[in-house]
């Protein structure tokens, strides 16, 4: 589609990885087409705050084309990719059009998976898109509203029982804020129900919460969650999710609000390329992040599978995607300049962070670990730093400051009808394991 003689790089996906590639190639002698099926880049680490009424949608999402308005060589396209023809070197779009490339970066991310139980998606939405977040927000707030007018005590109790499935960072963060919403923010606003009696249950199949952290920090987080009023249930496997609750083997929990934070499934980049994928569907890539047999195709971020030198996988988090994006930009620059390419990609783990409720967090920087209020402040400042643009930094800082001072959440809106669960890509990619 590029009419110039300069090489044409196509980047699919405007997440952290894809944006980093485009950003780091500023001034390079090539044309870039950036394709995404959404018009906005989403700051996913804070998406749970939209789902739990702390932040507004526009505070964590930015129009992608806005970010590159001053880069005349970057063309942004709102379109959905459905395949790659590596022979013809084209990317196929769902609208029938195709885009030719000289080099291709697939940074298409991941979504949640229900481990073969796609029928759970309707009753237990996951959290990957803005629509997912507003769906969860609507269900949370509606449950309290319906409980206020419900006359059947059993139904009312089910409406006031909130279950989060999966105790990774997202699950822990969701459960903490939901508990805080029920126990601190809402009580004075209802007349017939006592929202402080609401149950928030966090279910984890593994032996402990936040398994990616050290046992000590994990145990701290467990205690901090219980202090927030969250019932933590580790070593429990969900066997059924329905509109009236869920089952863990013989035990049944009556709940009208389930949230899914358990499984991750890569986008189908590996299938598009016809290359090997790992169990989660991630494309297994070479040490320079190219697809095996396709030196002009890079796969990065949550949709790529790569082992570190110590045999552990590169984690599916924003800093890893950004490092991979920066590395790919260096490889491409070297190729354009005819220089030797950099050595294998090496992931540098900068630390792990997770928040519990509104005042506590844990951080693990390897040798030094921080927990409690100090960690929460570091977490907050770091996240504001990584937001894009002065406007958003200021807006989020103001929202948080307001919540901190007033205890009031700013985005408690019930909007849309019950459709958004069809909006997210909840179906695992065809043919994925």
């Amino acid at each position: 589609m590029s009419s110039s003689q300069r090489p044409h790089l196509v980047i699919v996906g405007g997440g952290f990885g894809g944006l980093q590639v485009a950003s780091d190639l500023e001034g390079a002698s090539l044309d870039i087409t950036l394709v995404d099926r959404r018009n906005h880049h989403l700051f996913q680490p804070l998406l749970y705050q939209v789902a739990t009424t702390l932040l507004a949608t526009s505070e964590i999402a930015w129009p992608i084309r806005r970010l590159f308005r001053d880069r005349r060589e970057v063309t942004t396209i709102l379109a959905e990719v459905e395949g790659v023809d590596t022979g013809a070197k084209t990317v196929r779009l769902t609208d029938g059009a195709s885009i030719g490339y000289d080099m291709l970066v697939l940074a298409t991310g991941a979504t949640h998976t229900y481990f073969g139980h796609d029928e759970w998606a309707r009753v237990a939405p996951g959290l990957k898109t803005l629509e997912d977040a507003t769906t969860i927000r609507r269900r949370l707030l509606s449950a309290f509203e319906r409980a206020e007018i419900e006359t059947d005590p059993a139904v009312r109790d089910a409406l006031l029982t909130f279950v989060v499935i999966g105790a990774g960072p997202t699950g822990v963060e969701l459960a903490g804020i939901i508990a805080e919403l029920a126990h601190s923010t809402l009580p004075k606003e209802f007349r017939r129900i006592d929202t402080r009696a609401a149950r928030v249950i966090l279910i984890e199949a593994g032996p402990r919460v936040l398994a990616g952290f050290s046992e000590e920090l994990s145990a701290y987080a467990h205690r901090a969650l219980e202090k927030c009023g969250v019932e933590v249930r580790t070593g429990q496997r969900v066997t059924s999710c329905t509109e009236t609750g869920l089952a863990m083997g013989d035990e049944v929990v009556a709940s009208r609000t389930l949230v899914w934070a358990a499984g991750v499934q890569a986008s189908p980049a590996a299938q598009w390329l016809g290359i090997e994928a790992d169990r989660a569907g991630r494309a297994i890539v070479e040490k320079n992040l190219t697809a095996p047999g396709h030196p002009d195709v890079f796969v990065i971020g949550d949709t790529a599978s790569l082992l570190r030198e110590d045999g552990t996988p590169v984690p599916g988090i924003a800093p890893a995607a950004k490092q991979q994006g920066a590395y790919v930009a260096r490889v491409i620059r070297a190729r354009l300049d005819g220089r030797a390419e950099p050595g294998s990609f090496r992931y540098r783990h900068q630390g792990s962070l997770a928040t519990i409720g509104k005042r506590s967090a844990i951080m693990d920087f390897g040798r030094f670990k921080v927990k409690g209020t100090l960690a929460w402040w570091i977490w907050g400042i770091a996240h504001i730093y990584f937001l894009i643009g002065t406007r958003s930094r200021f807006a989020v800082a103001w929202s948080w400051l307001w919540i901190y001072l007033s205890g009031q959440h700013s985005a408690r809106l019930i909007t849309q009808k019950e459709i958004a669960e069809e909006d997210g890509p909840v179906t695992p990619p065809k043919g994925a394991p």
Copy 2:
């Protein structure tokens, strides 16, 4: 539903009128139930700014129950009313429940009407709810996105033609911002289309724009719109709206984005009560705002019809609804205290305001009229003043300041699927004239 011996006031509708009644009755010896089908009060005068990407949804909407959290005698219910039994003195909800009242205030507002062409609603959404606003925002932004990848020049031109039908304040404000978006904000972000070539057409059946203002201010607004790049077409009646454009008699305009800002239809309060309504479906009320024959039922705001002493109707604007709400609260207090009720309701017109684009406005305070940038500043400060709560005032002020300094809009998100048009109450009430 009130279990105490105090009189029970039911207020249906949490708009400007309903909230004013509840607010002004603080400390009065009665129980209040406030019913709304949405969980939020909406600051409708700024809704067009959400539709045109200037503001975020949560900046102009507040959870109703939050506003009354410290008023223990006020119970807020999220429910939809479908009728009133004035004999039994109950309000009927769509879920089958009913609420008994001693006194009732119907402040249920109005929606748009298509003058018998309900089939136009799908292609030309109106602007009454947050979902309407995000629908229009999505269509606006999607039209530019689709134009960027469209290869057929005729379709591209239709995608870059935006039509607003109706040149009252909402239509004028929408057209001005859309033109500004196309001509100033977006041009640098697109590579294949020139958004400055986009056409924005404002169609008005009457002889002039902003007919509620003096001829001089109306003429000024007309010129200001043209200066913004809006094509103003007065004295033109739309005869057909379809997915590919609209017709005005023999003239056809190819457009993929139509916005309806033409007709207003009251909610069915008059039907619920079985009382006379005017042409727009508004309940014709007594001079003390009660329904004829029902001294315990008040009808206020956009769903009430009342003539002023000079024979002109009380306008359907926020200040009128608030004045009526305040008046009804005074009547109720007098009744509770056994005092003489205040005399007839008298509407005091405080002035009319409308903005054109981002830098100009007109205001008519009767004897003195202001136009241009000064009017715009007065308009902005007045609107920030009327927002609810420090947080929103600050957030909106910051958004506007940011737009003013950077020229960038803050809420340019395409969200949801094409469903929101089913969300708004676009069908005129059954049996309305």
